[in-house]
């Protein structure tokens, strides 16, 4: 079996160790004998429908976010939206997450249009929310990461959060929600990077991709001793000093 991981805007939006998520997806495939190919898709490069199995989109600085938002106005964004509707697994962090909502409104200038996959919108805030985060998710259990954002994301009535924050600010620092879920897409503010320390999320994405391409499959378990150790140490760090 083989999977193609598409790293959206990998060169321009890859802040705060986000590429660790791509490494985690690829390695966790390889350790199970699944061939993993990673392709980077940058501004101006077309997306071919059906070619990619898993999408990853990281955070970036404002300038790069504007370029990506512009790039997705048109057929490329339409194809990505259709892939997600049809069940393609996707993980988007921070800047990428924001552009999957309806819009991102910066401090100055016009709002950046998003893909509207998530029923959510983001407003630039004056306070930067920085620190360790622990999230309780019904679907995935305890998640741990590090947030660093000033954008405040609000969920609309159709949106389902990824979980609720136990430590940290989450989507907006007010309503205790963190992230958003839709079909097999996950958007959130968890850097860290999130997948290595929360391998159940990585395996969810891999399994969804395999099902889509190969039908019913069960993922063989891996030895996650170090993953659990790093997860536990990050959680205890979050609880003692956010």
């Amino acid at each position: 079996m083989e999977l193609t991981i598409c790293w959206l805007y990998g060169r321009t939006m890859n802040i705060y160790g986000d590429r660790g998520n791509v490494l985690a997806l690829a390695q966790r495939c390889r350790w199970r004998g699944i061939e993993a190919r990673v392709i980077e898709l940058g501004v101006g490069e077309p997306l071919e429908p059906g070619r990619c199995d898993i999408f990853f989109w990281g955070g970036g600085q404002d300038r790069e976010q504007v370029a990506a938002a512009r790039d997705l106005q048109g057929p490329k964004g339409e194809i990505l939206r259709r892939e997600i509707e049809e069940g393609a697994p996707l993980l988007a962090i921070c800047g990428g997450y924001q552009l999957l909502g309806h819009y991102y409104r910066p401090h100055q200038g016009e709002p950046l249009p998003g893909l509207g996959v998530f029923d959510a919108w983001t407003e630039a805030g004056s306070r930067r929310m920085i620190g360790n985060v622990v999230v309780e998710s019904e679907e995935f259990g305890e998640l741990v990461g590090f947030e660093n954002h000033s954008g405040r994301t609000f969920l609309g009535p159709q949106a389902r959060p990824l979980g609720r924050v136990r430590v940290g600010c989450g989507n907006n620092g007010e309503d205790k929600t963190e992230g958003c879920r839709y079909r097999n897409a996950i958007g959130c503010y968890l850097h860290g990077p999130v997948l290595p320390k929360n391998p159940q999320l990585a395996d969810f994405l891999i399994e969804a991709a395999l099902r889509r391409r190969y039908g019913e499959v069960t993922l063989p378990p891996l030895d996650d001793t170090l993953e659990r150790l790093a997860h536990a140490s990050a959680v205890s760090r979050a609880q003692s000093a956010r």
Partner: protein, 463 residues
């Protein structure tokens, strides 16, 4: 006499002496803080007394080493140098360094200052000291939780540079496209340095390359050569922005193991001359070249520069060697992905086959976000045969990073925090064997304390 300044200097010096007597470390932060509280203008008043002016050194990587090299060269030239040698590089630490070298009446005993400034403190330091020379090394992604995005730092530097006195000169590493763009308008007062040597270039741009996109038009640069991260000989296919011509260049670079490096200094229209430095790694070529360029801007002759560089010693925790219980420990500070990449590259190119201990802390001075470990290219370690130990507050994160870099789990061990991790690591070394320790900043301080408690390593404030 200025009674307020005099009081600030006196309090700073007395409190520093008291802290040292209590054995509580180098004593730079609190004394400097007290001094700035008593006289917020203390740094400006002290620094502007110097007949030779101030050189302010800034950059993400290499500040401490470069400032040391430059101070050694200036001492070699016979100057009395004021220098924040301990690496305390915020306004308060710099103020304390000046107070330490001043009389109780607030007169500075020195001719010229070499000041290393923290990225975030750079604008305030420049505003107060009105430097004769600003020496800009590089801008890498570092501690984003503290400094904000690279663009934010670059913008604040741009504003500080525009406010410089007209007679100030800016000596800048133009291999860094961000710095070249920031100093583009200063052309007449800019002294540009960089590498003119294709042989040391990387095969491809590393992942942690932070600024590989043109700031003017957003197009990705093409590189004729990439040396470290995004440092190189670049050109923007979009708007034509490219590395400006070099006023001072390093060529014929020779990196000889972990012992020494050498290169030739080329200034257009003059005969190249060699320098030799008892440090290793390409990043130290950049540091030495920066010190050479600043020295030339100060009018120092090549012979003195050569002698100064030859006399340079490794700074606190920068490839420092310590002998302990019959083992040899080499300590290399790691602060950010690019620094870690270069250490891994240096160990690989010197074919070092020795056990490694990587100590990761996440306190304020280290950066509380450890995600930077994932921006470093640790994959070269997957092929080594030696065991890799990890420790510190976030040692488990480091072990996980190494696992995903392909290091087999049986070669990985998590040792926990200092000082226990030091003892466990040393007991894994055979007598006479060398071990490499790579700590983050506060882990290095803890390592220092652990070693000092066992009777080794000099106190850094006496260096």
């Amino acid at each position: 006499m200025d009674p307020r300044l005099s009081l600030a200097v006196g309090v700073s010096r007395l409190s520093a002496a008291a802290i040292r007597r209590l054995g509580r470390g180098g004593g730079t932060a609190l004394p400097g803080l007290l001094a700035t509280l008593i006289d917020p203008g203390a740094l400006g008043k002290l620094s502007r007394q110097l007949p030779g002016g101030c050189v302010v050194v800034a950059g993400t990587n290499g500040k401490t080493t470069t400032a040391r090299m430059l101070a050694t060269i200036l001492e070699q030239a016979g100057h009395r140098v004021v220098h924040n040698r301990s690496g305390s590089n915020l306004v308060r630490g710099i103020t304390a360094a000046f107070a330490e070298q001043s009389s109780l009446l607030g007169r500075v005993r020195g001719e010229i200052a070499v000041i290393e400034a923290d990225e975030a403190a750079f604008p305030a330091v420049v505003r107060q000291t009105r430097p004769r020379i600003v020496l800009l090394l590089n801008l890498f992604r570092d501690q984003l939780d503290r400094y904000g995005e690279l663009d934010t730092v670059a913008r604040s530097w741009g504003e500080a540079l525009r406010a410089l006195p007209a007679e100030s000169r800016v000596v800048v590493n133009v291999d860094d496209p961000t710095l070249a763009a920031l100093t583009g308008e200063l052309a007449g007062r800019r002294l540009a340095f960089g590498l003119a040597e294709r042989r040391v270039a990387l095969d491809r741009l590393p992942h942690a390359a932070d600024a590989s996109v043109c700031r003017r038009c957003g197009t990705a640069f093409t590189y004729r050569a990439a040396f470290i991260s995004h440092l190189g000989d670049y050109r923007c296919p979009g708007c034509g922005f490219e590395r400006p011509p070099l006023d001072v260049a390093a060529g014929s670079i020779a990196l000889e193991g972990l012992e020494r490096l050498s290169f030739e200094v080329t200034v257009p229209g003059r005969k190249p001359w060699p320098v030799e430095v008892p440090l290793s790694g390409l990043y130290n070529v950049y540091n030495a070249l920066a010190a050479v360029a600043a020295s030339l801007a100060l009018g120092i002759v090549p012979e003195v520069i050569q002698a100064g560089l030859a006399a340079t010693r490794a700074a606190f925790g920068r490839l420092e060697r310590v002998s302990y219980r019959g083992r040899s420990l080499v300590i290399v500070l790691i602060k950010n992905p690019t620094g870690l990449n270069e250490v891994v590259r240096m160990l690989a190119s010197a074919r070092v086959e020795a056990p490694l201990l990587v100590l990761i802390n996440d306190l304020d001075a280290d950066g509380r976000d450890v995600s930077w470990l994932w921006d470093a290219d640790l994959e070269p370690l997957s092929e080594a045969r030696f065991p890799v130990f990890t420790g510190g507050i976030r040692g488990a994160d480091m072990a996980l990073r190494l696992k995903y870099a392909g290091v087999p789990q049986e070669r990985l061990r998590v040792l926990g925090d200092l000082p226990g991790a030091l003892d466990a690591f040393v007991s894994e070394l055979a007598p006479g064997q060398t071990g490499y320790i790579l700590p983050t900043y506060t882990a290095m301080l803890a390592l220092r304390r652990a070693l000092a408690g066992r009777g080794v390593a000099p106190a850094f404030w006496r260096q």
